[in-house]
Symmetry: D2
Subunit: 422 residues, 4 copies
C-alpha cells in the first residue's frame, strides 16, 4: 500500500508517521511518499520520519519528491496538508482583518476566505493530476478551510473526504474525563467544519453529556474559552472556533492588545526543524504538541485504515467524524453542501449517520455560514472583486457593507500574488 502526502515537508508529518507506526497492523503501508517543493525542509522531515519508522521496526520506505506525479503515481490514498503561501500569508490572514475591526483568523471570517481563494485552485489542480496518475486513490483533505475545499473536490467528482482534528480532540478529552477508552466515546458532533457543537456524548449507549457537564463544566468551559455559565445553559459543547462568533469583539480586543501569533508559531517551527535535523532524535518530539493539531495523526491514519485497511477489506465499517456531502442529513442545507458529522466509513466511502433535528440556536448560524461558504467557493472558482465582496457581505462576522468593502480591498491587496484574476 502506498500513501502520498502533499505538503509532506510540514512539521506535522512526524505526527502522521508516528500514527502509521502505531496502526501498522490494520494499515500495512509499504511506501510513504512525501511531496513538497521546499526540498531542504522536506529532507529534514523525511529524515526524522525514517528514524521514527526504523525505531518502531516499521519497514515502509519514505520517498521524497519535489514533483507531484511520481509521488502520487500508484498511491492508494493522497493526504493534502499543503499551505499555499506558507506561514507568512497566514500571518497576513491573521492581521489585516483587524484593520477593519474583524477577527483575524486563518479559517474563520475574512482570513478564512483569503485562504479559500488561495487554496481551492491549487488543490483542484493537484486533485486532477492525482486522478490522472491514480484514478482510484482516495483524497483526504486536511487543508483549511476543509469544508470549502472538500466541497470543491466533490463538485469535480473526486473521491474525497475532509478531515479535521476538532472532533477527535473532544473524543480524547472526554474519554480522559470519563476514564474510558476513546473508542468507546461516540460524539453527537454536528455542523460545518470549524462551526460545530457536541450535542450528545454516548458511552455504552447512554448520553453522558449531562454528567460530563455536571462534573467537569469548568474544565470544559476553560478549554473552549467560553463562560461556564453559558455552556451550562446551552447544555452542549461548542467547538473552540465558536468563540470567534460568540465572543467576537472580545477576541478582537485580545488580538489588538498583543502582537500577532506568527512570531510564536515561527519560533516553534524553527525549534522543531532543529530537532528534526538532529540524527539522534528518532521519536516524535514533545514540542510538536505546542504546534497545534493534536491527534491529527490518529484521525488521519484511522480514517485511511477504515477506507483501505484490513477491516475495510473484510467489509467492516467504522465511525469517523468527517466532512462529506450533506445529501439531506441537514434538511435546511443544499444536498451538495459539505457538512461535518459522524459517518460510517468503509471501503465504499462514508455515509453520514442519522442526525437529530438541529436546534434553531445552532441551525441559524450553520445556515448563514453555509451561504457564505457557497459564495466563497464561487469566488474561489470564478474570481472577481464582486464575488469576494458578496462572500464577505454574506458572512455573519462581517455582514456590513463598509466592512465588506474594506476587507475586500485588503484581501485582494494582500493576496494579489495568489489570485490569477487580480
Amino acid at each position: 500500500m502506498k500513501l502520498a502526502v502533499v505538503g509532506g515537508g510540514s512539521t506535522y508529518t512526524p505526527e502522521l508517521v508516528d500514527g502509521l507506526a502505531r496502526l501498522r497492523t490494520d494499515l500495512p503501508v509499504d511506501e510513504l511518499a512525501l511531496v513538497d517543493p521546499a526540498g531542504d525542509r522536506l529532507a529534514l522531515v523525511a529524515g526524522i520520519s525514517r528514524r521514527i519508522l526504523a525505531r518502531q521496526g516499521h519497514s515502509a520506505a519514505v520517498t521524497v519528491h519535489e514533483d507531484l506525479e511520481p509521488a502520487v503515481d500508484g498511491a492508494d490514498a493522497v493526504l493534502l496538508q499543503l499551505r499555499v503561501g506558507g506561514q507568512a500569508t497566514r500571518n497576513e490572514d491573521e492581521t489585516w482583518p483587524l484593520e477593519c475591526g474583524c477577527v483575524g483568523q486563518e479559517t474563520t471570517g475574512a482570513g478564512g476566505l483569503a485562504k479559500a481563494l488561495r487554496t481551492v485552485p491549487v488543490v483542484l489542480d493537484i486533485a486532477e493530476r492525482v486522478r490522472q496518475a491514480s484514478p482510484d486513490a482516495w483524497i483526504v483533505d486536511f487543508t483549511n478551510p476543509v469544508g470549502i475545499v472538500t466541497r470543491a473536490l466533490l463538485q469535480q467528482g473526486h473521491r474525497a473526504l475532509g478531515l479535521c482534528n476538532v472532533a477527535i480532540g473532544f473524543q480524547r478529552r472526554f474519554a480522559r474525563l470519563l476514564s474510558v477508552e476513546p473508542a468507546d466515546v461516540r460524539l453527537g458532533h454536528v455542523g460545518l467544519n470549524h462551526l460545530t457543537w457536541e450535542r450528545t456524548v454516548f458511552v455504552d449507549g447512554i448520553d453522558v453529556l449531562p454528567t460530563l457537564l455536571a462534573r467537569h463544566l469548568d474544565a470544559i468551559a476553560e478549554e473552549i474559552e467560553l463562560p461556564a455559565a453559558v455552556v451550562e445553559r446551552l447544555a452542549v459543547v461548542p467547538s473552540y472556533y465558536l468563540r470567534y462568533f460568540y465572543e467576537h469583539d472580545a477576541v478582537v480586543r485580545e488580538l489588538r492588545s498583543r502582537p500577532s501569533r506568527a512570531a510564536e508559531v515561527a519560533a516553534i517551527e524553527a525549534r522543531l526543524l532543529e530537532l528534526y535535523a538532529d540524527p539522534s532524535v528518532d521519536e516524535k518530539p514533545a514540542e510538536l504538541a505546542q504546534r497545534g493539531g493534536a491527534y491529527y495523526s490518529e484521525a488521519a491514519v484511522a480514517l485511511v485504515a477504515s477506507l483501505l485497511g484490513a477491516g475495510a477489506a473484510a467489509g467492516r465499517e467504522d465511525v469517523h467524524v468527517v466532512n462529506l456531502r450533506n445529501d439531506g442529513s441537514l434538511p435546511f442545507l443544499d444536498d451538495d453542501h459539505v457538512i461535518e458529522v459522524p459517518a460510517s466509513v468503509g471501503s465504499a466511502g462514508a455515509r453520514a449517520l442519522p442526525i437529530e433535528p438541529v436546534e434553531p440556536l445552532f441551525g441559524g448560524l450553520i445556515a448563514h455560514v453555509a451561504a457564505y461558504e457557497r459564495l466563497a467557493l464561487d469566488a474561489a472558482l470564478h474570481g472577481g472583486r464582486d464575488r469576494v465582496f458578496a462572500a464577505l457581505l454574506a458572512h455573519p462576522l462581517v455582514g456590513q457593507i463598509d466592512l465588506a468593502e474594506g476587507l475586500t480591498d485588503r484581501l485582494i491587496a494582500h493576496n494579489h500574488a495568489f489570485l490569477e484574476w487580480a
Copy 2:
C-alpha cells in the same frame, strides 16, 4: 359587512377609513367597529373617521368600544393594530439596546424581541376571544413584529394573515418611476417581514428591474439609504430595514449622535390628535404621511376586499404580498415558518406564488433571522430568562454572549410590567 379594528384609537385609523371610502364598491362595509381602551383618544379618532366617511358619502356606521367582545361580535374581519405599552415603550425599545452598542429599533434586533414578548400573549388572547365571538372572521395582523405574531396566530389555528406596508410602498414608488399604474407592477418580493428584497419587478410580463436600476439608481438607493454602488452590484432592491443589517454600526453612530425619535413621533401624534379634534377637518390630514405607514390603508382594505369582497364572492383571486405559512415555498425554512411573499388571495385565503430559488447572499440571512424568530416566539410563549438569552444569541445582529447577557437583563428590566413570568 362589519370590520373591527383592535387598537382603533391609533392615529393611523383615518388612513384606513380613507381607504374604505375609496374602495367602497368592492368592499361595502356597513359597520366599522373601533375598539381601544384609551377612550378619549378613540373618541377623537372616531369623530374624524365619521366626518371622512360623511364627506365621501359613505353610509357605514362607526362604532366605538372599550371592550373587545361587542366590537368583534359578528365581524367579518378583525384588523390588529394595537401597540402594547404604547409610544413610551417604543421609545424604550429604541433606546436601551444602544447601551449595548446594538441598534435600537422596535421591530429589528433586541427592541423587536421586546415588542414580540409584550405583544404575542396579548394578541393570542384577543384572537381567542375573536374566535369565540366570530368563528369565521379573518384576522389581519399589522402589529409588529408581523412575522412572529402571524406565526403565533397560525400555530393556534386562527384564520390569520400578516400585512406590512413595505411591499406596497415599493409597488407605488416603482409605478411612479415607471409612469405605470400601481396595479400593473408585480413585485418579486421575498423574505421575512422587514427582511425582504425585491428581486424582480414585472410590468406586462417583463422584468423591468434592470431598467429601473439603470435609470433611477440614485433615487432608489437614497430611499433605502444604502450606497448606490452596492445596490447596483446586488442588482436587487433591499427593503429599508436591511440597512439595520448592512450598515448596522453606522446606524448606531447616527442614533448616538441625536436624541431618540420618540419626541419626534410624539410631537407628530399630538399635532394629529389636535387636527382630529377639529370638527371642520373631514379629510385625512397631510401630516399623517409624516407618521410613517404610507399606503397602509390601501394594502389593508384591498387585502380584506380580496378575502371578503365582491370579487372574492365571484371566485376571483388577487395578488398581495402577505405574511403566511411557508409550506415549502422557501425549502430551507420549516413548513410552519411565516414568510412574506406575493400570494394569490381569495375567499379561501392566501396561497404563495411560486418562488425562484433564493440566492445565498439573501438566503443565509433569512435562515439566520428565521432561527431567531423561532426562539423569539418560544420566549414569547413560554417566558424565562434563558429563552430570551437564546433568542438574542441567535440573532445575527447580536450573536455574542456578553451582548446577549446585557441585552437580556435590560429587556427584562424595561419590560417587567408586561412579562408575567418576570
Copy 3:
C-alpha cells in the same frame, strides 16, 4: 460646638456619627443638626445616630430639620453630602452615556457632567444661606463632583474645602500592608478629585512605595483593577477612577454585559434603612461597608477637628488630602483651579504642601480634565446647550463631535427637571 449635615438623611450618616463618637476628645460636638427634605428617612437615620452616640456615652444632641436655616444657624461647620435627584438620577447618570458608547459613571465623563449641572446651583444656594446664617462656618463638601463643586464655592468666596475618601482609603490600605499606623503613612497624592496618583508613600521619612509595589503588587493592582504589569511599569498607584480612562472600552463592555448598579445599591440601602429602624441596633451596621464610602467618617471628622478642634485652637496643623485652590501648586493649571493634594490644615484653613513636578504621563491628562472642569462649571453656572456641548467635547473620554452631540441631547433630556434653562 455645632455640626450641621446637609443631606443628613443619607444612609452614610451613621458612619459619620460613629466617627464623632470616636474622636470626641479632640472634637467635642454638642449638637449634630441633620437637615434633609426626606423626613421619614431622616427620622430613621436620626434614630440610629442617637442610639450610637448613647451607646458610646456621647452627650451630643441630634436635631432634625427639614429646613436649612435652623439647622445651620450657629453651626461651626456644615458638611454637604446631598444628592440632587437621588439614586434614581444616579442610575440615569450610569445608563444613558452607554447609549453613546461612553462610560456611565456618576462622577466621571458625561454622567459626572450631569451631576455637576444638577448640583452646583443647589450647593451655591445652600452655601449662600449658610453664609447668612453663620458667616464663619466652614463648609466641607463631599458632594460629587467634589472638584467642580469646591471650585464653585471658592469662586463665590465661601470658606470651603472639598473632601474625598480615595486618599484615606489608600492610607489605611497601605498602613495595613506595611503593618504601621495609618497616621504614620504620608501619601504623595496628586491630581484632581477622582483623577489622582500616589507617587510616593512616606513612612518615617522614607519613600516605601517601591517596597510596597515589590511586595504587594498583585494585591494593589487587584484593588484598583489595573494590570499588575502596568502598575509596576508606571511605579505609581493610580486611583481606582483612572480605570475609567486607562480601560475605558473594557469598562463599557463590562457595564454592557450586566444590568446597571442601581438595583444593587437600592437593595443595600433598603436593608440599611431596615436595620436603622430596628431600635435594638445601636452600632454602625457591618452592611454599611458595602455601600461604598469607606473611611469617609474618619476623613470628615478628622478634617473638621483640624479646622476647629482643640489642636487647632492650640495652633497645631495636621496634614489632610483635600480639594483646595491651586495657587501655583501645579504650575500648568490656573491659580483658581481646585486640585486634590496633601495640605497642612489648621484654624486658618488649608495650605497645599510643596509638590514635586508632575510627570507628563499624568500631567497631560490632569490638564485636559481640568480644562473640561472649567467648561463644566461654566455650563453649570450659565446653562445652555452650547456650553454643555463644549464641556463634553473638551472631555478626554468624549472628545468627538458626534458623541458630544448625542450625549448633550441625552444629558438635557434626562435632566430637564433639574436644569432651569432647559
Copy 4:
C-alpha cells in the same frame, strides 16, 4: 548665498525651486545643493529644477550630492525634507494602527510616534554634521512630526525653526474668499504643529473671522471636513488635522472601508517623476498640487528670505507662522516646549508675537498632546519599549492600556529596522 536641501530628491523640490525663482529679488540664491541618497531620483528632480530656473532666467547653480557634507558645506540655510523609510514606511504608519482601532496617520497618533522615533535620531545626526560644516547655517525643518523634531533640534542648541504649510494654506484660502492679498491676512493661529486653530483673521487691523464664517461657513467647513454647525458654534477654524480628534471613530471607519492611501500617492509620484524626466517640461507641473503640500515653497522661501534676505540685512522683520520655543507664550506649557504660532522673523531669528489666553476647549487638548510629545521625544532619544508605551498611553487618541500595549508591539515590529535599541 547657498541653500542646501536634505531629501532634495523629493518630488516636492520643483515647488521649492519655483518659489526661489519667484522670490529671487529678496533672496538671491547662487547655489541650490540637493542631497539625497537616491541618486536616480535626485537626477530627475535636479534636471527639472535646472530647467525651471533656466526658463525663469535664474542663474543659480543646482548641484547634486549623495553625501551630506559637501552639500551643506558653506550653506547659509539647510532645509530638511527627508522621509526616513520612504513611502513604504508611511504606508505602514497609516495601516497598523487601524488593527487596534486607532487612526492610521503619519503625523498624528501612533503612526506619528513611529515617524518621530525613526526621524529624530537621523535629523539630529544630520544637524550635528551641518553644525560642523556650517556653524552659522539656519536649519529649517519641514520633516514631520515638525513639533517634536524641532524641539529635538533646539534642545541640542541648533539654529532651527520648524515650518508647516497649514497656516499659509489658510492665509491663501481666506485671502481668496475675502478678495484681498495674502500678505494682508494676519492669522491668529495657535497650538502645536498639526493641532492648531485659527482664532482670529485680521485684515487691516480688523478681525474678519466672524464675517468669514458668516459668509463662507459651508466652504470652510467642507475644506476641513467638519460639520458646519460645529464650526459655527466654535467660532474658530480648526486645522484639518483636528478631524483626527473630533471625528476619530468616523475617520477610522472611512479608512477601514477603503484601501490605504499609499497606492494613490505612489501613483501620483510615479506620474510626477515621469514628467520630471521629460526634457521638454520646464515648469512646475499642475499635478504637483495633488501631491499635498500646497504653498510649501512659498512658506519656505519667504521664511528663509526673512532670516537671510535683503530685508533681514536691512533689519526688517516679517511675520511667519513657525514652530519655535514656547518661552512663556502659552503659560500652561513648559518653556522649552515647541509651539506653532505667528512670530516676528528677522536676521536674529524668530520671536513669538503675543498670544491671547487660550480657551479651555483648545488648551486642554494642547496640554494633553504636549505631554505626549515630551514622552515621544524621550522615547525617540532614549528608546525602550516602556518609553514607547508611556508615550502612547499619554496620547489622547490612545489613552487605554490594552490599546497602548498592542500599538507598542506593532510599532516596534514594523519599525524594527529603524530602531537601534529594538
